[in-house]
């Protein structure tokens, strides 16, 4: 009988212990405003604010007010609001990074009342700068004269798409390249260029077709390897309008290495894209 009593007591103690354990100790409760829209916001806000046994957040989508309860020995209000801001939601203490806000689903992209817009004058300055950059880019883009030059330009467009790991764009650009390849007037080419053209033309078309017909970045990159080799042969004799850099990445193509051409000295690797963007080096400068 006594033992039963003991067991009972132990159980009661255990139960009360676990239940008290699940609560937040040294609790402090505060009300704060957190900007947001909908039920989905509520989920994200509460999930990012909650920490087991340390903090809990209850947000009301009507009033935009959150009740936050936390163990004041283990954390503080700022920590919780910072976590919530990093998930995309502004409060009167922290503003979410723009990237986090932009990642929120459309319905959750609330109006950012707490955020002060960038001063007008500064914005103008920045825009001016951007515009200047843009103009510069445009002016380089419009420099295409000879018929091979348009092909090179298009090759670079394919390359840039691969740098961005954008299979769709690469395919579209390769399609354009293909049409350009078809309309080249061989007779207008100089003698030595003509000779090379005859050699590489078939392969160029084949690789361009491969890239255009697929959205699979891996297949596109395989074809791009040989495409680059052939364009290189061509550009060696014909010379491009601007300086072109022949670049090499020893890691591409499963460690066998692969080459490509670029208009910039700086390495932007089309075989890895952002994964290994700067891998590679310039092996030849063609002027």
């Amino acid at each position: 009988m006594k033992s039963i009593k003991n067991i009972l007591m132990l159980t009661v103690m255990l139960v009360s212990f676990t239940s008290s354990y699940a609560q937040i100790k040294n609790a402090s409760t505060q009300e704060v405003k957190i900007y947001g829209n909908c039920g989905m916001c509520e989920k994200t806000i509460e999930k990012s604010g909650n920490l087991k046994n340390i903090s809990s957040v209850d947000w009301d989508k009507e009033t935009k007010m959150a009740t936050i309860t936390f163990d004041k020995k283990a954390t503080n209000k700022d920590d919780i609001l910072k976590r919530i801001a990093l998930s995309g939601y502004d409060s009167d203490f922290f503003l979410a990074p723009d990237a986090a806000y932009n990642k929120l689903p459309g319905c959750c992209q609330y109006e950012r009342e707490a955020k002060t817009p960038v001063k007008k004058q500064m914005k103008a300055n920045m825009e001016e700068k951007m515009k200047a950059n843009h103009d510069e880019m445009k002016s380089t883009e419009t420099q295409n004269i000879s018929q091979l030059e348009t092909i090179y330009e298009n090759y670079f467009a394919v390359k840039d798409a691969l740098v961005e790991t954008d299979g769709k764009e690469a395919s579209a650009k390769a399609k354009e390249l293909l049409t350009l390849l078809d309309v080249v007037k061989m007779g207008d080419l100089e003698m030595d260029v003509h000779m090379v053209w005859m050699k590489v033309m078939k392969d160029l078309k084949e690789d361009a077709t491969k890239i255009s017909q697929s959205n699979d970045i891996k297949k596109q990159r395989d074809a791009f390897d040989t495409l680059s080799e052939n364009i290189y042969k061509l550009i060696k004799v014909s010379k491009a309008e601007t300086t072109v850099y022949f670049q090499h990445c020893p890691m591409a193509n499963d460690g066998k290495g692969a080459n490509w051409l670029s208009k910039e000295n700086e390495v932007k690797n089309p075989y890895y894209g952002s994964k290994m963007l700067s891998c590679g080096k310039v092996v030849e400068t063609i002027k």
Partner: protein, 740 residues
């Protein structure tokens, strides 16, 4: 009347003599208790503060710094990046004797340069526990190098650091013992289970085949990271439109930091205290002990913008908010993809432990091989096919990814010519940075400081150093007392630095004019690498005697000994079937180790094996040793054991001497061959600490005495684990493993 006249004359004379402004600081070094992490721990504070007070001088001043040592141990202060007389450089046993407890020492030197520098203790591991501070040298306003819009912008010293609750001596010891407790704390064990889950089982296998332990970008687990001694702080004195120049020093003992700013791009205007042409970047990495000056702008009103410093391992971070009002956060650095890094490392590592750069000629931080681990650049940890469905969102993000401008050394350009004297003789030196992660040995040309003499150079020559990093970690190499040119393709405008971060497989060339006198330290500034011996000393021929160092030769021996200390490691398994344990005392090359197996009954036996060995070669895979074995065991019925070779041994009482060697095989299995003085031979294969999961380790042993053992250990704490093992002598056992 006469008196007054005299007074006036003396005053006049003294002012003309002291026309240079003497700026005096008094620094009291004291033991203190701090609480950075929620626990009270020992630290060292100067004038009651951590970091040490910011010291400010103007070019042309004379610095006079009085140091009062109230500690129970010696100390010193090194003025990082300053040109000064050798005896003021603050390296104990090299340029002075340690400042003894209870004494005062005065550093006095003219300030002949400007820029952002810092100062720290050069004694033992004191830098880790608080002895670092900013040292700001201002330009004179009349200086022709004074740059409007840069040098007249309001400035704030920023010193980055890290805090660990463990004693730094213990951290150092644990690193040498290849403890993976830090990896467990960081969640970077990279065990087989984790590899399997991430689809990288083969990667892990290859990695161990090549005898590598789990790789990480940094070695130590830290509890907190700090900017000016605080994890988070705010500079609310600045308003919208303000420009602020941050004078940033990395006073961390072993952490590189990524720097980002929530209010847009940062303009880098100086590096290691030397001006550079302004360059705009999105982020930069600051190596241990480097300094960078960046200018940031506050874009909007009532907003303070986060300046975020994230250690390279990205476990935690520290922020300072610039401006008043609501805090605009920047995107945190996402977690590293370790298995991608491991895969890349596998490709780069030769079977013989050297690195292969695959002909990439890497230099100047231009190719960061770790990029494969950065989700913000190479995409999230998800498989590529998974994000195909999200084509749409990917597109909008992709353009930003490859547009992130990260600073590298080739972008640094001095505003003035930095060429060295043309007709000076050139002295060419070449160092290969070498290391052994498994035993935490760091060296140059596979030689640590205690194994080499000073390198003699002559005043008036140009010293050109080629550095090649053939180790798996990056190293911030620091030269005392000189700035060197980094040959980075900027020609005559090559930037001047005093710390060069060199990544694995990189080759860089630096050069400097030998224009000083005395002994100057050249070392890796990762504190634990320096203490492991990755140091050299450049010594000017025919230097003047140093008044602070009466016995130079003796002192140099002390310096050498400091970075080749013995480290103790011990463990014992208290199991139901007996005690299993070992203790080891090791330094760079030598190992004194003893293992024991103590049963609870005579028939289980008691035995111990002691080995004294020396690690040979760069990778230290080979260790010949001499051994002593002692055993006592009572076998029933006078049973005689026979080994695989038919050699017999009576195990009851045995005292043996032996010769043998241990060799680390692929998969990190240790092969041991041992011949005893009675002619018996024993061959053994053993592997401990196979990481099955985050905290579960497996071990096995098998030998030609027909003994074998398999065991499992679950690590529950830094010094404790739960074990089970089956031993051919003692049978099945469960126990608790206690280690030190």
């Amino acid at each position: 009347m006469n008196k007054i006249y005299y007074l006036l004359v003396t005053l006049l004379i003294s002012t003309t003599i002291f026309s240079q402004n003497v700026v005096r600081y008094d620094l009291h070094v004291r033991d203190s208790i701090v609480n950075f992490s929620g626990k009270e721990k020992r630290a060292i504070a100067v004038n009651g503060q951590i970091p040490m007070p910011t010291l400010t001088f103007t070019e042309g001043d004379i610095a006079e710094i009085h140091v009062y040592n109230h500690l129970d141990e010696g100390t010193s202060l090194h003025w990082h990046g300053l040109y000064l007389p050798n005896k003021e450089d603050g390296v104990p046993y090299l340029t002075q004797m340690p400042i003894e407890p209870g004494t005062e020492h005065v550093y006095r030197f003219p300030i002949i340069q400007s820029g952002t520098h810092w100062y720290h203790s050069h004694s033992g591991l004191q830098e880790q526990i608080g002895m670092y501070g900013s040292l700001i040298l201002k330009k004179k306003v009349v200086d022709p190098a004074f740059r409007k819009g840069i040098d007249d912008v309001p400035q704030v010293p920023i010193i980055l650091s890290e805090w660990t609750d463990y004693k730094p001596e213990n951290v150092h010891r644990m690193l040498h013992n290849a403890s993976d407790w830090f990896a467990i704390k960081k969640g970077t064990t990279q065990s087989y289970a984790e590899a399997l889950k991430a689809g990288h089982f083969k990667t892990k296998l290859t990695n161990e085949w090549k005898r590598m332990l789990a790789m990480d970008v940094s070695d130590v687990y830290y509890d907190k990271f700090l900017i000016n001694g605080q994890n988070e702080s705010q500079l609310s004195q600045f308003k919208a439109g303000d420009k602020v120049r941050l004078r940033i020093s990395n006073g961390g003992a072993s952490s590189y930091f990524w720097l980002k700013y929530a209010g847009g791009k940062m303009t880098v205007v100086a590096n290691d205290g030397n001006d550079v042409e302004p360059v705009e970047v999105d982020r930069l990495i600051i190596g241990v002990s480097e300094t960078y000056d960046v200018i940031v702008t506050i874009p909007a009103e009532n907003t303070s913008y986060e300046f975020l410093a994230t250690p390279e391992d990205r476990t935690k971070s520290t922020s300072i908010y610039i401006g008043e009002g609501i805090k605009q956060l920047t995107t945190p650095m996402p977690k590293l993809k370790y298995f991608e890094g491991m895969k890349m490392m596998n490709n780069m590592m030769n079977m013989d432990g050297t690195m292969d750069d695959m002909g990439m000629d890497m230099s100047l931080q231009k190719i960061d091989m770790n990029t494969v681990m950065y989700p913000e650049i190479s995409g999230s940890a998800m498989k590529m096919d998974e994000d195909k469905d999200m084509d749409h969102s990917k597109h909008s993000m992709s353009s930003t990814k490859s547009d992130i401008v990260t600073l590298n050394y080739s972008m640094l350009k001095s505003p003035t010519k930095t060429t060295l004297p043309k007709d000076a003789p050139v002295r060419e030196l070449r160092f290969e940075l070498t290391g052994n992660m498994n035993r935490y040995v760091w060296s140059m040309d596979n030689v640590v400081l205690s194994e080499t003499d000073k390198i003699l150079i002559k005043k008036g020559e140009n010293v050109r150093i080629t550095l090649y990093n053939n180790s798996m970690m990056r190293h911030p190499m620091h030269l005392h007392g000189h700035d060197f040119r980094v040959l980075n393709g900027q020609g005559e405008f090559a930037p001047l630095k005093n710390v060069l971060d060199i990544m694995p497989m990189e080759m860089d060339v630096i050069e400097f004019e030998a224009n000083a006198d005395g002994d100057w330290f050249f070392h890796c500034h990762i504190l634990y690498h320096m203490m492991a011996g990755m140091n050299r000393v450049f010594s000017y021929e025919d230097s003047k005697p140093n008044p602070y160092l009466p016995n130079k030769a003796e002192a140099y021996k002390k310096l050498q000994a400091e970075s080749n200390q013995f480290h103790l490691m011990a463990e014992n398994d208290f199991a139901t079937n007996g005690n299993d344990g070992k203790a080891m005392l090791q330094n760079t090359r030598w190992s004194f180790g003893t293992e024991w197996r103590l049963g609870y009954h005579d028939d289980h036996g008691y035995e111990s094996e002691t080995h004294i060995g020396r690690y040979i070669g760069r990778n230290q895979w080979f260790m010949p040793f001499i051994g002593f074995d002692a055993r006592y065991r009572k076998l029933d019925h006078g049973e005689i054991e026979e080994n695989l070779f038919g050699q017999k041994s009576t195990k009851d009482k045995r005292i043996q001497a032996s010769l043998g060697f241990a060799y680390t095989l692929p998969m990190l299995v240790i092969f041991q061959a041992e011949a005893y003085h009675d002619g018996n031979v024993r061959l053994q294969l053993m592997r401990e600490d196979i990481p099955l999961s985050k905290r579960l380790r497996m071990a096995f042993m098998v030998n030609t005495d027909k003994e074998y053992m398999v065991g499992l250990k679950y690590i529950i704490g830094k010094n404790m684990g739960i074990t089970t093992h089956y031993d051919s002598d003692m049978g099945l056992g469960f126990g608790i493993n206690v280690n030190y």
